[in-house]
Each structure stands twice: as structure tokens, then as C-alpha cells.
């Protein structure tokens, strides 16, 4: 098991390095510029986003004891979508303190959506399945709101909204990396500290309670921390499908379900997977870039089906 985990880590590093190098052959000053000013920061953003989405997915699956739970099911992504749509309908070129208005609004929306669900989750009597239902209710309500905004928005804003909703790694340079890194690092580091209490959840929420886990507090912490990380990712990149869902399942199949392995390995594999998918998205259509969200969805869906089918045997 240990050598297998090491092998996967080495594989992840290889893929990350390869992602910087693949692409048209670049030489001279221009090549230097493209590699160091465009590709490296983009790979760094990809690593941060992929790692955060995958870890939060793994934590939420553990927390809700539901293999389908991700940040998409607790209102985070839906809130971000409404925020982004609002900003795009208003004026897509506006900035706040040098940050794009879309990013700021998406971040605020994501936090608002998750906060609604989190306030419900902190109630002592709520069960995990109730919290998940609250998340779905918030998601439905916000998508109704999003449809309303789309109805009154003009066609340019609608096009921009469609682009945003596909999910892509933006060219944000090192400044973007610096803005994203502290929030993602904080969220991931603190979530990893919850490993022990999440492990107690593996045989059910009520048993975990009787073993001394403060269930409402754990739920609130994990939801707040996870939403903070995911909100900052979604704010910059839009919703990137399937990373949070597929990566934990992939790691679980390869290495088994001890959270002491599952959580850190989801982090590694998530980072490598998103960056690799992005490199793929750069190359697959010559001269054009696909949004990485399309690639993750196209690869993620069949992978998930394959994993489930293999697991059943």
C-alpha cells in the first residue's frame, strides 16, 4: 500500500512537470515569457484549484456519508453562479479594487449559498441527510434566481455567462496565484486537521457522536472551511465539474478508504488531474483552447461509471 501511494505521488509530479513542457516548441525570449509568465502561473492555479476541489469533495463525501456529495450539492457552486451572472448582467468589465467584478460577486455568492446551508447544519437536531437536502433546496432556489437574471440580461451578458459556466483556468499571472494560494492553503490545511473526527464518521454519524465527536460543530467547521476554499476557486475559474466527485472515488479504489490516506492523496491527485486536463485542453484542438471544464466532464463521467461498475464486481 505504501509503495503504491508513493508511486501515485511520483506519477502526479511527472504529470505536473509534463504539463509545463507540453505545447508548441518555444524558443528565445518569447518562449521564456510564455513558459514563465503564462504557463507556470496557470499550472500553479490549476494545482491549487484541483487540490482544493478534490480534497473538499472527499471531506464532504465523508461528512455526509454520501458518495455523491460535493461542493456542488451544498449550495457553494450555485451561489457562485448567481453572483457571477449578476456581475455579468451588470457590467462584465467593471473591477473592484483591481479585481474583476465577476470574481468578487461569484466569491460573495458562493459564501452566501454555503452560509445558508451551514446555518442549517449547525442545528443540533439536523441529520446529515437533512443538511444535504437543504443544500439541494438552496441549489434549486438559486438556479431559479439565475434563470431570472438570464431572462432580463442582454445577449452579450448571456454569452459571457455561458463562457463562465464552462469552467476554465484563467490567465491570472502570479498575482492570481498569490490571491488564491492563501485561501486554498488555509482551507486545505485546516480540513486535513479534521481527519481524525472524519474517520470516526465512517461507521455512521450517531456512532461518531457516541464516540465523542461534536457532530454539529464538525459539520459547521468542515462546511465553512470547504466552502471558503471552493468559493475562491469557483470565483476565478467558474464551476469545474467532476474533479471533486471523481478524484476521491479514484483514490478510494486505488488505496482503500482510510482518511489518513484518502484526504492527502486526493489533494495530490486532484492537483495533477486538473493540470493534466488543462494541458490536454490546450492541445486537443490546434490553435484553440477548450475550457478545462469540458475536458474534466468528458473524462470524469465515464471514469466514474467505470469505477462504479468495477467496484460492483
Amino acid at each position: 500500500m505504501r509503495w503504491r501511494a508513493s508511486l501515485i505521488v511520483v506519477g502526479c509530479v511527472v504529470f505536473l512537470l509534463a504539463a509545463v513542457l507540453v505545447g508548441p516548441q518555444l524558443e528565445g525570449a518569447q518562449g521564456q515569457f510564455i513558459v514563465w509568465q503564462l504557463r507556470v502561473p496557470r499550472v500553479l492555479v490549476g494545482m491549487l484549484v484541483g487540490a482544493t476541489l478534490a480534497l473538499v469533495g472527499a471531506v464532504f463525501q465523508a461528512l455526509f456519508q454520501n458518495p455523491l456529495a460535493t461542493s456542488d450539492t451544498v449550495g457553494t457552486t450555485a451561489g457562485a453562479t448567481v453572483g457571477a451572472l449578476f456581475a455579468l448582467a451588470l457590467d462584465s468589465s467593471r473591477t473592484v479594487q483591481g479585481l474583476p467584478l465577476v470574481t468578487v460577486c461569484a466569491f460573495a455568492g458562493a459564501l452566501a449559498g454555503s452560509l445558508l446551508v451551514a446555518s442549517f447544519a449547525s442545528s443540533r437536531t439536523a441529520h446529515s441527510s437533512d443538511v444535504l437536502l437543504a443544500g439541494i433546496a438552496v441549489t434549486l432556489a438559486t438556479s431559479a434566481l439565475a434563470s431570472g437574471i438570464q431572462y432580463i440580461a442582454d445577449s452579450r451578458a448571456l454569452f459571457a455567462a455561458t463562457q463562465w459556466s464552462l469552467g476554465q483556468l484563467p490567465q491570472v499571472g502570479y498575482r492570481g496565484v498569490l490571491l488564491l494560494a492563501p485561501l486554498c492553503a488555509l482551507s486545505c490545511a485546516l480540513l486535513l486537521l479534521l481527519t481524525r473526527s472524519l474517520q470516526a464518521f465512517a461507521l455512521g454519524e450517531e456512532l461518531a457522536h457516541s464516540q465523542g465527536v461534536n457532530v454539529p460543530r464538525l459539520r459547521l467547521f468542515a462546511l465553512a472551511l470547504g466552502s471558503l476554499g471552493v468559493a475562491s476557486c469557483v470565483a476565478w475559474c467558474g464551476p469545474i465539474a467532476f474533479v471533486g466527485l471523481v478524484v476521491p472515488h479514484l483514490v478510494r479504489r486505488l488505496l482503500g478508504g482510510s482518511y489518513r490516506v484518502l484526504l492527502p492523496m486526493s489533494l495530490c491527485v486532484g492537483a495533477a488531474l486538473l493540470v493534466t486536463c488543462d494541458a490536454f485542453a490546450r492541445l486537443i484542438v490546434p490553435g484553440r483552447e477548450l475550457p478545462v471544464g469540458i475536458v474534466t466532464a468528458a473524462l470524469g463521467a465515464p471514469t466514474l461509471v467505470f469505477l462504479v461498475a468495477r467496484g460492483r464486481r
Binding site: L207, H209, G257
Partner: protein, 259 residues
């Protein structure tokens, strides 16, 4: 001081009354068997004792303190349970899941694993320490959950039908182990469907049997009380018969009482 003290406890769920002013004390070192028909409120009583169900009225005190006011870890040090159904969705190894039951202790993961190994050995489950809980049968999973309870090392142990779904040999094992834990100066409150299994805990004459029906306490008698078969018969609406074995008395259902 009473170890577990349930006073005037009522739990209502909408129109339904699950528990109706139940008062039950389990003294330190006492073994109480809780019996009653399905839906009598037995599991609700255990869950209320753990702070999993909030009482509509009345109180639950554990070692003198209200269970709701206790810090989670302090509560886990005093009271633990073996649930009737154990969920296992996560493919985690048995050893890891028993190690996780040491949550209340501030100790390294290596220490937790050592304690988990001892607990698994004690319940006779060492052979599936490395197997995933999702791959275990119901009986095996029950045994792993029992190891979790042992590893938690609490003073008051609650059991929800620990012999459920087990074969006769395993049923005897489980009750013998229950008796062992009891004699280590613990208090036990155990939901039970077959009082004859109580012989296995040893010193069964000291066991108290409490009957619960429709949320109310119906009787509270010692295991060797002559009137126990009559009490049990009234509780379930059946005629019970006592059969004297070579060294113990067996209580069997004979026929259904006409309504």
C-alpha cells in the same frame, strides 16, 4: 451516586409519544436488561441516554451531570453504545475503524492502533483486522462495532440487541463478553429479546430486568424473581412457561393469549 439516571423522561414526535415519563436508574456496577415489544421505545431510551435524542421533558444525567451539558469527549468517556445497525459505506479497514473509536483519547495514531488491535483480539476479530468493513458480513461487522465499544473504554455501556442476526454460538460469545465487561466495574444497560441468554453473563441473579411497553415502564424485577415469567407474559401478551434445566431456569413463550 447513580451512574445513569433517567428521570421522568418523555420523548414525543409530533402526535406520537415514544417515551412516557420513564424513570430508570442504573447504579454503578449494575446490569439492567431492557425488554419489550417492537416499538416500545427501547432504542429511543438508549438514544436519549446518549444525548442523540432530545427529551421533550424530563432529564438524563450521566454520573451526576446532564448529558446535554457534557462536553462530547467527556460524555464519550462515561457512556458508549453498540447500535443495532452499523452503517458501512466507506471501504475503511476494521482496524482503522476501531482505532477511530479512540477519538476521546488524546494519543498518537500508533497508540490508537495498538489499542484497536487489543480490542479486536478481545472480541475474537483479529482475523479480519485488515479487511474492509464494507466487505464484512452483518455478524462480522457487529463484532467490529463491539471492538469499537471495547476500545472506547467507557464506564456505562449501552447495547441495542447485541445478539441480533448472530448464530447461537456467537450469541453465547457475545453475552459472555458482555458479562466480562460488566465485571470490570462497568454498568450495563442492554436491550434484549431472549432473557435466557442472560445466564451467559455469569452471576445472572444480580441482573435486573426492566419491561417497557408503549413508552411506559411496566415492571422492574430481578432475573431470579419467581414472578418474572408472569411479568414477561403480560408484557408481550403471551403465556410464558418456566422450564427448570439442570442448573438454570429457562423462560419460554408457550402460546398467544387470546385478545
Amino acid at each position: 451516586m447513580n451512574q445513569l439516571e433517567v428521570v421522568d423522561l418523555s420523548v414525543r414526535l409530533g402526535e406520537r409519544t415514544l417515551l412516557d415519563r420513564v424513570t430508570l436508574r442504573v447504579a454503578p456496577g449494575e446490569f439492567v436488561a431492557l425488554i419489550g415489544p417492537n416499538g416500545a421505545g427501547k432504542t429511543t431510551l438508549l438514544k436519549a441516554a446518549l444525548g442523540l435524542r432530545r427529551p421533550t421533558s424530563g432529564s438524563v444525567r450521566v454520573a451526576g451531570e446532564s448529558v446535554e451539558g457534557l462536553d462530547s469527549r467527556a460524555r464519550a468517556a462515561r457512556i458508549a453504545w453498540l447500535p443495532q445497525h452499523i452503517r458501512a459505506e466507506e471501504p475503511i479497514s476494521s482496524l482503522e475503524s476501531v482505532a477511530a473509536a479512540r477519538y476521546r483519547f488524546s494519543e498518537s495514531h500508533a497508540d490508537s492502533r495498538r489499542a484497536a488491535e487489543r480490542a479486536l483480539a478481545r472480541v475474537g476479530a483479529t482475523q479480519y483486522a485488515e479487511r474492509r468493513v464494507t466487505d464484512l458480513s452483518g455478524g462480522e461487522r457487529q463484532r467490529v462495532a463491539f471492538a469499537c465499544l471495547v476500545a472506547q473504554e467507557s464506564d456505562i455501556l449501552l447495547f441495542d440487541e447485541p445478539a441480533n442476526h448472530l448464530d447461537p454460538a456467537q450469541q453465547l460469545d457475545v453475552y459472555r463478553l458482555l458479562g466480562e465487561l460488566w465485571r470490570e466495574e462497568r454498568s450495563v444497560l442492554c436491550i434484549n429479546h431472549d432473557v435466557n441468554l442472560l445466564h451467559q453473563v455469569g452471576d445472572a441473579a444480580r441482573v435486573r430486568v426492566v419491561g417497557l411497553r408503549a413508552g411506559r415502564l411496566e415492571f422492574d424485577a430481578r432475573f431470579d424473581a419467581p414472578a418474572l415469567p408472569e411479568h414477561i407474559g403480560n408484557l408481550f401478551g403471551v403465556e410464558m412457561e418456566s422450564v427448570q434445566g439442570s442448573d438454570q431456569r429457562f423462560i419460554m413463550p408457550r402460546s398467544r393469549r387470546s385478545p
